[in-house]
């Protein structure tokens, strides 16, 4: 199904940008797991809009209300459902989109797919708003992974043509604008401001790493960690590419350059390099699982654009109004972590199934 994910757990996200609530149901989480609501709220805040100059002025509290599945803060084995209200809704902005679709948005494809019955308001079910539901589920999985010593971290690798330098570490990931080099971070912010000033937008790349993973998670062929993570990460609107470890760079290397030599460090088997991004044959090696995701520039821009009238099949100009981020990359960072955490916790439950207790 379009809005469900998972093999050993099952996540369903629901809601439209301007429906009464959005939310998620997470099935398959073992009973007896404590969920820290404050940590979850703090995680959600990293995605929340309206916080600073480079995000949308739309403001949503984004506090998940758990309506079932927990007793106090502890999972009871039943499906966990949390909802959050869409409080700051301005439906008037989106009237004409069914016949004159916004370039880069799902307006046109939704119109074709749903025959005009889609909820066009605010992008409906295609809205980035739905990533709040993803982050509820992901925030839970991050806490469950942390119990096992697994941490999901990430940084902004680039905004437009500005690239960060250095290596992603946990201290970088904890920054409010997570870049290794704050000077490059300042340039990135400038690029965003400039795009906004020009009625335009800008994209970027997010790097994510999962640390502390045991070896042995994932399955061959279609159940590989690449498949599973890609399948979750492409659930975030605007993601157009993903690569693991050296990724597209590996395609330029020779085998002797790309292969990660095995080595022993502190009595533990590791690899000297990590071009594989911690995955061989779809299965975790125990090295950091690393990947990069490409985020396209926000399609909603103030500049006038060319579109068509679907009914009359004539060309037509369109000016997108409404409130939008000139760059969604900063807010997409926790979404990417959420998607990765869900994929990994799902794989970890699958590892249990085989008779290993992690």
């Amino acid at each position: 199904m379009s809005s469900s994910y998972g093999e050993n757990l099952r996540l369903t996200v629901f809601g439209q940008s301007h429906s009464r609530f959005i939310g998620m149901t997470l099935e398959g989480i073992p009973a007896g797991k404590k969920i820290d609501p404050e940590k979850l709220a703090a995680f959600m805040q990293r995605r929340a809009p309206g916080k600073n100059e480079y995000s949308t002025p739309r403001s949503e509290a984004d506090v998940p209300e758990f309506i079932c599945g927990l007793v106090g803060d502890v999972t009871c084995g039943a499906p966990i459902t949390a909802i959050t209200a869409n409080t700051n809704v301005r439906p008037g902005d989106y009237e004409a989109l069914k016949t004159t679709p916004r370039p880069g948005h799902a307006d046109y494809t939704a119109q074709i797919k749903y025959g005009g019955y889609q909820d066009a308001s605010g992008g409906g079910h295609f809205s980035g708003r739905l990533t709040a539901a993803l982050c509820i589920a992901g925030g839970i999985c991050i806490q469950l992974l942390a119990e096992k010593g697994v941490r999901v971290i990430s940084r902004i690798l680039s905004i437009g043509n500005v690239f960060d330098e250095g290596e992603l570490t946990e201290s970088t990931a904890s920054k409010s604008f997570p870049v290794v080099c704050d000077g490059r971070g300042a340039e990135m912010k400038e690029a965003i401001k400039k795009a906004r000033a020009e009625g335009d937008s800008v994209g970027g790349v997010i790097e994510c790493a999962v640390l502390g993973l045991p070896a042995g998670l994932g399955d061959p062929i279609f159940g590989g960690m690449e498949n599973r993570i890609a399948s979750a990460v492409f659930g975030i609107p605007g993601i157009k590419g993903i690569e693991f470890g050296a990724g597209f760079e590996a395609a330029k290397m020779t085998g002797s350059e790309n292969n990660d030599a095995f080595t022993v460090k502190d009595g533990r088997i590791e690899t000297a390099t990590n071009n594989a991004g911690g995955i061989l044959g779809g299965i975790t090696t125990g090295m950091p699982l690393t990947f990069k995701a490409a985020v396209k520039p926000t399609p909603s821009i103030a500049k006038t654009q060319k579109s068509v009238d679907i009914i009359t099949k004539t060309e037509k100009e369109i000016t997108v109004t409404g409130r939008h981020d000139p760059c969604i990359v900063p807010r997409a960072v926790p979404c990417v972590e959420a998607a990765a955490a869900i994929a990994l916790y799902d794989a970890l439950l699958g590892r249990n199934k085989e008779g290993y207790q992690i």
Copy 2:
């Protein structure tokens, strides 16, 4: 499950590199579809080993034997199972891999995951040999898509640091070494020969396009065409990255550059550019669906490499023997097409489900 794919059809691939047979079962294909065995054999031949100087000398006939699901050449509605024998097996090559894993291979992760019970011979279930099963299913789906006017084409975009030029077209895709610029093709072949001569290997990038697609295939969030295709394509061993349309380049653009303006051409709604790769909101636009997949260099190289003895936890050198491609990119081309075709035919069946007949 690790070896199954699909929502509206279900593909299961089975077999190990050196088991008696490998094969696949494909459920959910409507009854009454004619499968042309010669076209399928021709498609399989593009993947088959042992054909030329830049592939492994291992030779397998790779003719699928349909053991059920067809009456004559026509689908009967029951699951379709085809098998193909592993005739050219040399198990002796792989004895020591359980304790001394080959860098870049799944030997180590298989050992951890399966506790030593894995079939290590020839890479077992992780072997590229399994892509023959993928190609049986993909070859069927390609024929079923062709009935609807949908064509899946691809080319080698790069080998190592040699990049093709120009645009992918159907005539390029029909070449035995599918590149637009044959001069670049010659350079690519040189790069492969050089790698072989040095006991090394080389990777590359494959570009794929699906033409003639109707708009409206795919679903929002986790059911997007990006999710579905990535989930299938990462089922091919050695794929480490995928990007759709402009992909990672889109991350460098502004919204006004990246957004594809809608336009009317011959009375049909199209986009002036196709940075979206024919997918908006996870759903096909009717433009060519385009993506690129990064293939890592073959991990099996003749050069001596560093590994470890898993038991004694001491470092150790390893020299990989056996028969291997210095570059799997040419043989991976039909595999990528197969994976894309399976994902698309699955989505097309899902579109039927909604009450549209395609």
Copy 3:
């Protein structure tokens, strides 16, 4: 997953007896389908408690609030989520059940499965209360089936040892106490009152028929209509048996008695009898699909019962307090219809997938 159902649609039910809300998400319903809220409310009322002398005094409004998936009353293609509040909650009744389980309830198995973390209050996720969520989904599917001329009807076949007479028809199904013979109905009500007066409870059998079905729904082997319907109907707490057509009686017949002869009636192929219950090889014949479901007597009874203290492993008497139906059969009737409708609409979408438009 435990709380999900469906192949072509996906239903997830969530909530516990005393959580803030219970609800359901239904994915995969095509866009553009009008849902009549009054018809749905009327259907829900048939299940609602507190209406008469033979049901629990617990009163719940049971009006589904749709929080997403509809625009006005019309499906928009996104997952449909509806919730309904648990307003009449008395958690105090259920304190001691974790250590002293009620016979016939899930208290003991929940304790073992969830290690004491289950929500014991009101039976938690095991409560019959969850069938309200099932009825939301089922009520929607009943409306969608009605569009195609398909009607789901049922009657009370027996309560305790009192059996109805005659054949199930649509006029019987529309009665508030759906039995053919009202005299037998009066006896059934007496049996319920008697059970209540004795601090006891009573079970019964529900007969269900689906009329107006096209031939060709369902799949062989595990996808048969028997498998699909059984899988949904056993989702209703207290159902302990199901039989299709002649069912267990067929086991006593000879083939010449049990086989339904084909015949032509008004130019349409039918069978002269319907011992098959409208299903051959798992697939609908176009005759009424008929089945019977056995409902056990409500396990909550006022009489003192024998239980154990799980901790001390000593025997112990238990008296169940709280508000309970002396017979859940009347309220289970719409639940059985709901389950059947969900299974059939799911199969009908699957039939579309194959290229037939129903």
Copy 4:
């Protein structure tokens, strides 16, 4: 999908009655499990045809050939595929069935569903022959359950109107004609012979019990053991009803009669009776899991029957030739055990997933 089963393992059965092979793929079995081929063959023999006077003269060796997934006799973690040839095929018997369907068979529904493209020969994918594939998978799961001390036993409860007496025990289950009372067994055999002599057939009921189960297997709502077992057992052609524990009899009882009192026996919590059939809230109690399955009389009978010509829509008589069992109940016994074992091993893997090691 029609031919797949399972949540934590995945079984796919494939083949038609007269295709070259039938077979099955079983994914998700942990690595390192020894499969005893002789025990499996012995189990298969219990289903095999042609053994005695009351079964079909069709003779198939029914020895599963494992083509992958095992190394020696030990599972390697890859999907396990086994096939068995259809050696004794007489396609000529089935020519006219597409236009003149046999009563009680899937000929008519297959014709409608597959539009005439079905493999009609021998019943195609609907044939009881496919239960050989089910028995391969079930025979494996029975061995895996036995490792945990779980035994699946069954008996013939009735043939036609002859009912066995007494309680099902392991010694009964080990008989070649498994009934408690051999006198009744003799009567049953007489009933079968009589049916054959009259060109007719007869049905029956199979009782199955699973002993040695831990408490805690299964899930609430749709994941209950009733749902899971019913979903598998209805995969056997000819099964028309299933009931758990007291089943339909429970519907006649009062709560005080039907509720199973908890008690302590040898320091272990049990129930004094087992009307629940070892399942409360869908989850195993640790008591024997018991159910009964109704088998309809073989639809293939020698007597002339009424059918229709589908094309001309005129009535027509039909005489079924071919080789058929006058009673499939004895051969269905291991099939029911197989289905139960698959459902239980699947649930047991799911229990592992939650962090319990069984």
